[in-house]
């Protein structure tokens, strides 16, 4: 429960623009999702953290964006039986224009301005090659640097 609540706190704080609170709540959620192998949740969390880190840690944020791409692919490689979804008159099963996507687009805009398109692609490629443990370690390091005690 605390992992989910922490992740929800990160979501709300990031969406409101309270990046300090988002970064404060993020480590519990990130470690929890790593330890429990919840890759799609970890990907969502990393997207939010990348947004919070983008102004102060653009290189780290760009690497995280690349890693998220890999995580999303990994979670979609697992299968859910098609008829396990709600009926067709419910809602689509993905949210291509939801708030997390909106925040990712904000991150991309910040990174394009700060590191440029070419460097952004390089850093994303680097992130895409990272294992889950490595990207979490890199993210937590970035969080520590951005929030000196």
């Amino acid at each position: 429960m605390n992992i989910i609540l922490s992740s929800l706190t990160v979501f709300v704080a990031a969406y409101m623009g309270d990046l300090d609170q988002a970064l404060d709540a993020a480590p519990v959620a990130i470690r929890g999702f790593l330890w429990t192998g919840q890759w799609s949740n970890l990907a969502g969390m990393l997207n939010l953290v990348a947004r919070a880190l983008a102004p102060s840690e653009p290189n780290t944020a760009a690497i995280i964006q690349g890693a998220v791409r890999r995580l999303v692919t990994a979670s979609q490689a697992q299968s859910v039986r098609p008829d396990a979804q709600p009926p067709a008159n419910a809602h689509p099963t993905s949210a291509p224009s939801g708030p997390v996507v909106e925040l990712r687009q904000q991150t991309t805009a910040i990174l394009r301005d700060t590191v440029g398109d070419t460097r952004l692609r390089e850093l994303r490629t680097k992130g895409e090659a990272l294992e889950e443990e490595a990207v979490v370690a890199l993210t937590l390091d970035g969080l520590t640097r951005s929030r000196p005690r």
């Binding site: 609540l5 979501f11 409101m16 799609s40 697992q78 709600p86 809602h91 099963t93």
Partner: protein, 216 residues
């Protein structure tokens, strides 16, 4: 907690070894015990294979519990198979057990989460909440509706999320339980974050204040 964990596992081992089907299925389906079953290395399915298990009134709920465990491990196909089995078994019960359908929807929600199908996950939580509400399972309905509200909000569908968040918060306040209240407040904050950031900030602060701090 580690001692309780050991006691729980020992009790289950005793129940399975001695063929005590009542005890084994009770341990498997006891609400507080499920946290333990989520965290053991193998699916806790031995109890389902005991003689007389299939005819036992707790069998459908036990199948649903193991389905939820499978979903929590990311094994969506097994979760679905067990969930289908739980619903089929529940049809044979002399008196309905609403927790079966509730847990089946939770299992399906968690299975949807594995692939990042956030709207499907939210819809299954909403169904679980509806089942719990109909059965007057207040704590369960609060949890499921708050989950649904938060997930719909994350997917951008705040219109669908808002009434669920309002209901979850109302019921959790009636329960006077800090955990569910905190959960509902933070879910509510997620719903109003875009249209009313100040209210979201207040709700988030109130919810976080109810959570135990590290070290407490």
């Amino acid at each position: 907690l580690p001692a309780e964990n050991e006691n729980f596992l020992a009790a289950m081992a005793y129940a399975v070894t001695s063929g005590d089907i009542d005890l084994a299925l009770w341990l498997l389906t006891a609400g507080a015990g499920q946290v333990i079953w989520y965290n053991v290395s193998l699916l806790p399915a031995d109890a389902l294979l005991l003689e007389g298990a299939v005819e036992h009134p707790l069998y459908p709920r036990a199948l649903a519990t193991v389905a939820l465990c499978a979903a929590e491990r990311g094994d969506a196909p097994t979760a679905e198979r067990l969930a289908d089995g739980a619903l089929a078994a529940a049809e044979q019960l002399a008196s309905p057990d609403p927790l079966v359908e509730y847990e089946v929807h939770l299992a399906r929600a968690r299975a949807a989460n594995v692939v990042g199908a956030i709207v499907a996950e939210a819809a299954h939580f909403e169904r679980a909440g509806n089942v719990a509400r109909s059965a007057a399972l207040a704590a369960e309905s609060t949890f499921a509706l708050a989950c649904a509200a938060a997930l719909f909000a994350m997917s951008g569908d705040t219109d669908r999320a808002l009434p669920l968040a309002e209901e979850a918060l109302g019921v959790s306040r009636q329960l006077r339980a800090p955990g569910p209240i905190a959960w509902s407040l933070i879910a509510f904050a997620a719903v109003v974050a875009r249209r009313d950031p100040e209210q979201a900030r207040t709700l988030l602060a109130e919810g976080c204040a109810l959570l135990p701090r590290r070290g407490e």
